[in-house]
Amino acid sequence: MTATSATWRKARKNRVVVGSGGVLLLLVVMALLGPLISPHGYLDTDFGRILHAPTATELQLFGTDDLGRDLFVRTMLGIQVTLLVAVVASIVSLAIGVLYGAVAGYVGGRVDAVMMRLVDTLYALPFIFFVILLMVVFERNFLLIFIAIGAINWLDMARIVRGQTLSLREREFVEAARLMGASTPRIILRHIAPNLIGVVVVYVTLTIPQAILVESFLSFLGLGIQEPRTSLGALVDAGVNHMEGAAWMLLIPAALLALILLCFNFLGDGLRDVFDSRHKS
């Protein structure tokens, strides 16, 4: 009985949402199907074809790198990894952040104070230091990156959800529900949570690009994804080394990274409009 279907209808009418969502969907399909279609594997080195420029022959659309590996396949793989990291990191931050923030906001008082001071403390830790520490103590691990990125993003989410809950708690319809005799879980589930969804969805689409950037940054520093696997950030890093002789190695992954970031940002903006105007009209 929530407003989901109405919101969905509205989202489909919003050109920004449809446009950026469509491009993202296309990229995902391409990233999944590309490696299957291409005759090359992401590990196959071909020392006869080192640093070849993009060409349509043999489907080497993005050229090859300094080990003669096909860059189209590697880039598609990079998109897969980048999106996976971003989505998983966002889900981690969503799960922790929403729960943490809603509890702090609704219970309030001393519980709220303690919980939020903990968040402040975590904020104060320098993130890169934290990640390098993790990488040194444990082995370099794919999973670790998700955890590291999710572990900082949830702080923002918790703050936003808490703030929203605080203001929702004072709204008259929540008071009306209390007076009606509704229990606390019922109020949180039926009255607080549905009204949080708008903010949370929008915020998630904005944390995804943040996560992508952090992953790229880590990979660029050599702390993220390890060879022979790759991500867009790692590809950009490799491209920088051959900037003069083989500009495509830098330009293609960088352009795709920028495209993905733009799409997510537009999606976030568009969704915010969709959720906002519902209250206006």
Partner: protein, 582 residues
């Protein structure tokens, strides 16, 4: 010679028309009232006059100020005209004043920006203007920030800023709607006194204000001018059906068909109730919102609780419902003492006490459809009900409040204010409660919608013997619907009497002032002087003795020394040392 001439003005937003073919003129020194319900295009017209319409508005027609066309004037030319030739007073001074800039600075900027004065001369003119609008201690207020002034004082500062550059035309958009009734009277009197030869366009929904303060009036309905003429003529013989409707819906105190007292057993009793809130920032400081109020409500009775903002009327009833904790005193329901917190009250009691809020849209969950909103009390209290029966009962209640089955799938934002309030009432009534508290439940609604809602409540009461407690600041509503009236001032009971007695034999000077301050929708009645000087003192530092004594014309020494006890005079409960003499 007309000073301002509007010729065939139309304003559209895409396909929606806001103002349609509106023509009128304003002569120097004249005061004209622009009347209509919400959405009739009053404010749109005002914004067009000032060139403040949003960019997506499509306008046709002309607006001439003397011989300058305003609608197509350039930005620079408009900036020069505004303040110097045409100025506006907004409804809410809190939003119209910049909170970060001192009052004096804000006013001074107008003079400097228009090159009318600079340096010391500007300061002096601002202070002089602040004195003229009746700000006490103008030199100190010059350095004050807006939040340090009360609402009435802020509106005075706003008026000062509008008049500073001596405009020819002054537009006042609902200038007193956000203010208490005793302050409203003062502000209207001030506007009248300051006008001299400025033409005034007074936009309002309150026909009482028009009757007392406007020479001519224009009646708008859905963007169209339906009637225009001398105020006296229109009030005496309205021609258009919509004007007749507005006049019939105008609140009046002089009606004779007031409800007679009823006798029924007591359902809700409040004894010695005090409510206080901890004050933010200051350690241990407490704000005493309600002090020792006793009250009993009977079956089938409507009790009105009246007072200006800060009188504690809402706090009292919220405490009775268990939404805010009571500091002392107790609440009983049908003779049984209730727990202070709503969560720890018996379920059976909770379903019998219901509340309708002031903001109808805000009290409905924006994510739920009407069907789910109205059904929610049922799914809490009668969870075993099968879906079909529940649906039938929801439809039945919606029909009871004048809405049909086709509203079931709507969201709150798809309803008008009146419809949303009907939904809120349907939700409150679905459990067949015995006490219904209405917290300013009709304050946000237009006149005709307000009457419908009041009639609906009365109807329900006649059928079910519901006891209604009506919190309001509007004495006309009180007069129309209540059996008994409780008047509160700064958290205390001031007077408690039945409707007839309260208006016919007023015992307390404050009640009397409140009644006199209500603008009467009758141009033949001389607009009386504002009955009260000053404003409600801060509740944080209440005056000694009788809290009303600094504003009371009857005050004697004893009034500032001793708190008057509520006592019974004939049938009236009154708290005043001099009640017998009044």
């Amino acid at each position: 010679m007309s000073l301002l001439r509007v010729d065939k003005l139309s304003i559209r937003y895409g396909e929606t028309s806001a103002v349609n073919d509106l023509s009128f003129s304003l002569r120097a020194g004249e005061s004209v009232g622009l009347v209509g319900e919400s959405g009739s295009g009053k404010t749109q017209t005002a914004l067009a006059l000032l060139g403040l319409l949003p960019a997506n508005a499509i306008t046709t027609g002309d607006i001439f100020l003397a011989d300058t066309e305003l609608l197509r004037a350039g930005k620079r030319a408009l900036n020069k005209l505004r303040a110097e030739r045409i100025a506006m007073i907004f409804q809410d001074p809190v939003q119209a004043l910049n909170p970060y800039v001192r009052i004096g600075q804000q006013l001074r900027r107008i003079l400097v920006a228009h090159g009318l004065a600079a340096g010391k001369a500007a300061d002096e003119r601002v202070i002089e203007m602040l004195q003229r609008v009746g700000l006490p201690d103008a030199e100190r207020q010059y350095r004050a920030y807006p939040h340090q002034l009360s609402g009435g004082m802020q509106q005075r500062a706003m008026i000062a800023s509008a008049l500073l550059a001596e405009p020819d035309v002054l537009i006042a958009d609902e200038p007193t709607t956000a203010l208490d009734v005793t302050v409203q009277a003062q502000i209207l009197e001030l506007l009248e006194a300051l006008r001299e030869d400025t033409a005034l366009l007074l936009i309002t929904h309150d026909l009482g204000v028009v009757a007392g303060h406007c020479d001519r009036m224009l009646v708008l309905e859905q963007g169209r001018l339906v009637e225009e003429g001398w105020t006296g003529d229109i009030f005496a013989a309205p021609q258009h059906a919509h004007t007749q409707l507005l006049l019939a819906a105008a609140p009046r105190l002089d009606r004779t068909d007031v409800p007679r007292p009823v006798s029924g057993e007591e359902v809700l009793g409040i004894a010695g109730a005090s409510v206080s809130y901890r004050e933010r920032g200051r350690r241990g400081g407490r704000l005493q919102a309600v002090r020792e109020v006793d009250l009993a409500v009977h079956r089938g009775e409507t009790l009105a609780v009246v007072g200006e903002s800060g009188s504690g009327k809402s706090s009292l009833l919220r405490a009775a419902l268990g939404l805010v904790p009571m500091q002392s005193g107790c609440v009983s329901y049908c003779g049984e003492v209730l727990d202070g917190q709503v969560q720890s009250r018996a379920v059976a009691v909770r379903r019998d006490l219901q509340l309708v809020f002031q903001d109808p849209v805000g009290s409905l969950n924006p994510q739920m459809r009407v069907a789910a909103i109205v059904a929610e009390p049922l799914s809490i209290h009668e969870a075993t009900l099968i879906a079909d029966v529940r649906r039938r009962r929801v439809i039945e209640k919606l029909e009871r409040v004048g809405l049909g089955e086709d509203y079931l799938q709507r969201f709150p934002h798809e309803l008008s204010g009146g419809q949303a309030q009907r939904v809120a009432i349907a939700r409150a009534l679905i459990l067949e409660p015995r006490v219904l508290v209405c917290d300013e439940a009709v304050a946000a609604l237009d006149g005709s919608v307000r009457q419908q809602i009041l009639a609906l409540l009365r109807d329900v009461q006649d059928q079910s013997g519901l006891a209604i407690i009506f919190i309001t600041h509007d004495l006309a509503v009180v007069r129309a619907i209540s059996h008994r009236v409780l008047v509160m001032y700064m958290g205390r009971l001031v007077e408690l009497a039945d409707n007839e007695t309260l208006f016919a034999r007023t015992r307390h000077p404050y009640t009397r002032a409140l009644i006199e301050a209500v603008p009467k929708p009758d141009p033949t009645a001389a607009a009386g002087n504002a009955p009260l000087r000053g404003e409600v003192p801060s509740i944080l530092t209440p005056p000694s003795g009788c809290t009303f004594h600094p504003r009371c014309t009857y005050a004697r020494d004893i009034c500032s020394e001793e708190v008057p006890r509520a006592r019974l005079l004939d049938t009236t409960m009154v708290a005043c040392h001099r009640a017998e003499e009044i």
